[in-house]
């Protein structure tokens, strides 16, 4: 015989209303099958049966409100009616076998205290070898990340969440206290801003004063926006940015593109754009000038043997720079395929984390939004980034005659700590030379 009890649904909840029996006395019920419903303050909850068997007795009728851990029914395990007289030891084994639901309490064993702690949630197996001082209770990924990034020993943080669990607010609170500990002014200075970025008003006990129509609205930044902001400022602070701009005649590329456009669409199902041509030219130039494919680490230059090109992709409310690995091993077709694939998966947010890492040089194509010229910010720890302006038919002077050519402005932002203007312009001249004299077949 298993007792079915009113489960504990939360720290603040001491009773619940039994609103509906989903089984009638005498009916069979499977373990974990919904047995009854309870209602607590605007929340309806289906309660699964703690055991399989026959619903032998219903002690609480629909509509009654009872305290948690009150026995509401009994289930007779299948097998025999003799089970009713089975030794108590047998029945006592049942609760342990039903972990998902709050375990039933043996009502025979004295009166249950009014506040019996709900059984601890089944602990997920510890995923990583935990340091000795790992606090009890599950930690959310956000809390782990926060602790890691700020080098916090979580065993020193007091948890205020359910079951002493550490919440984000606890960590933030701990961080806010930490630095002032040394100075330890007895009273916090009124000028000090509140430690945690809490925007929410505290629960108001009473109706509030009438409001005024707002002239502004306050919106928290998305995680992506915060990361972009941090990265941009970090880059500006790190590198000595200089931008050089070259005008490139894309007519040869435009012709090649025109010739292959339909075949690309038919054979591969995607467009042929200017970007893979430019990427290909950049790869050729990077081979010749490896300093542009390097990083600066203190007083050392790190030359990258791989050429991994980051391609900036605009998203609804941000941007991401997925990486074409081994870009020097791909022809125009391979590069176009990689660009289409990475951009599509970036926009549907299906990039794997390592697909945005390991870039050695980046390209940003603001020309697709109509920009002629831009001065991009270097994607750290790289040392240069190429900005691609829009390709327009433009009258230009060739051999003292005016001709109509497809013209594009390419801008290179480079880190002047490592690269001087002469080298940057040699690099750009190489890119220009490859594009203007394009002969390579694309597929």
């Amino acid at each position: 015989m298993t007792d079915v009890v009113m489960p504990q649904m939360g720290e603040s909840i001491v009773e619940g209303t039994l609103t509906k029996w989903l089984k009638k006395p005498g009916e069979h019920v499977e373990r974990d099958e919904p047995l009854f419903e309870i209602s607590t303050d605007k929340v309806d909850t289906e309660i699964p049966s703690p055991a399989a068997g026959t619903l032998s007795e219903v002690m609480v009728e629909e509509g009654k409100t009872v305290g948690i851990n009150t026995v509401v029914a009994r289930i007779e395990e299948n097998g025999a009616s003799a089970a009713a007289t089975a030794p108590p030891a047998q029945a006592a084994a049942a609760p342990a076998a039903a972990p998902p639901a709050p375990a039933p309490v043996e009502s025979a064993a004295a009166e249950p205290p009014p506040f019996v702690e709900a059984p601890a949630p089944p602990q997920p197996a510890v995923e990583e070898p935990a340091p000795a001082a790992e606090p009890a209770g599950p930690l959310s990924p956000l809390v782990r990340k926060l602790a890691r990034e700020n080098n916090i020993d979580l065993s020193r943080v007091k948890g205020t969440g359910a079951g002493g669990r550490i919440t984000k607010q606890d960590v933030e609170g701990y961080m806010a206290q930490r630095p002032v500990a040394a100075a330890a002014a007895p009273a916090p200075s009124p000028a000090t801003p509140a430690p945690a970025p809490r925007i929410a008003a505290s629960p108001a006990a009473a109706p509030l004063a009438p409001t005024h129509p707002a002239k502004t609205r306050v919106e928290p930044l998305s995680t992506m926006r915060i990361k972009i902001a941090e990265h941009m400022v970090l880059s500006k602070r790190t590198s000595a940015h200089v931008t050089t701009i070259h005008r490139v005649d894309m007519t040869a590329v435009a012709k090649m593109r025109e010739r292959n456009k339909a075949a690309f669409q038919a054979n591969y199902g995607f467009n042929l754009t200017y970007l893979p041509f430019i990427t290909r030219a950049v790869v050729v130039a990077l081979r010749q000038f490896p300093l542009l494919n390097a990083s600066l680490d203190g007083n050392n230059i790190i030359y990258h043997n791989e050429i991994n090109i980051g391609i900036a992709v605009a998203l609804e409310n941000g941007l991401i720079v997925p990486v074409i690995r081994g870009a020097d091993e791909k022809n125009v077709l391979g590069l176009q395929r990689a660009v289409v694939d990475l951009a599509a998966r970036a926009r549907s947010r299906q990039l794997k984390p390592d697909e945005v890492l390991g870039g050695t040089f980046s390209i940003t194509n603001f020309g697709s939004f109509g920009s002629l010229v831009g001065t991009p910010i270097i994607n750290q720890p790289q040392v240069a980034i190429l900005g691609v302006g829009t390709v327009d038919k433009t009258p230009v002077v060739i051999n003292d005659a005016i001709a109509i050519r497809s013209i594009c402005h390419l801008s290179l932002s480079f880190d002047h700590r490592l690269i001087d203007g002469a080298l940057a312009d040699q690099f750009m001249s190489k890119v220009k030379q490859v594009l203007e004299g394009w002969t390579e077949e694309v597929q």
Partner: protein, 216 residues
Amino acid sequence: MDYASALELQRRLVTQRQQGAIDDQLLLVEHPHVVTLGRNGHRENLLASDEILERAGVAFHPTDRGGDITYHGPGQLVGYPILDLRQWKRDVGAYVRAIEETLIATLAGFGIAAGRIPKLTGVWVDGRKIAAIGVHISRWVTSHGFALNVSTDLSYFQYIVPCGLTKPVTSMAALGVRATLEEVGYVLAAHFGRVFDFELPLVAPALAGARKREPI
């Protein structure tokens, strides 16, 4: 999205969430005119007859959430979080308070000082209800959720006694805030992420509407 479709979608997601096949979800939708009655609701709180409702173009739908009767319709931001509370806190009371906190913070972002009234779940401004909450839980997975009046035509509430309470209702528009459901949805999703400790990859895509971009 009509109410029945949203209900069906939620049922599917709840099952998948219970099986661990998907992560936690937040659905943000707008319904056509509909009056819904919670499992423990009282039909007498529906003030209008079936004919009057029909003439006003308002559907009626009994449902399995907590709470009494309520109205959904155009201009109302309806949120259906499908969360496994075992991954958060096993506490339905804390869950409802966290939904309230999300709504209060969202409204604060638009300059509206909203708050709680003890024992009256929901979010209130100056004694008027601006957002209603009603939740269903099955194996610790939540469904149903909340409804925030952004620019709701409040006259439709005359057909019911909202949640069985004879308290007035209000909306963001009635308080002088002009905002679209999309704007409010973005703000709300961001606060929801903060309150429930999510790193939000999903920012209300249903409302955002994918804009077509030039191929690169």
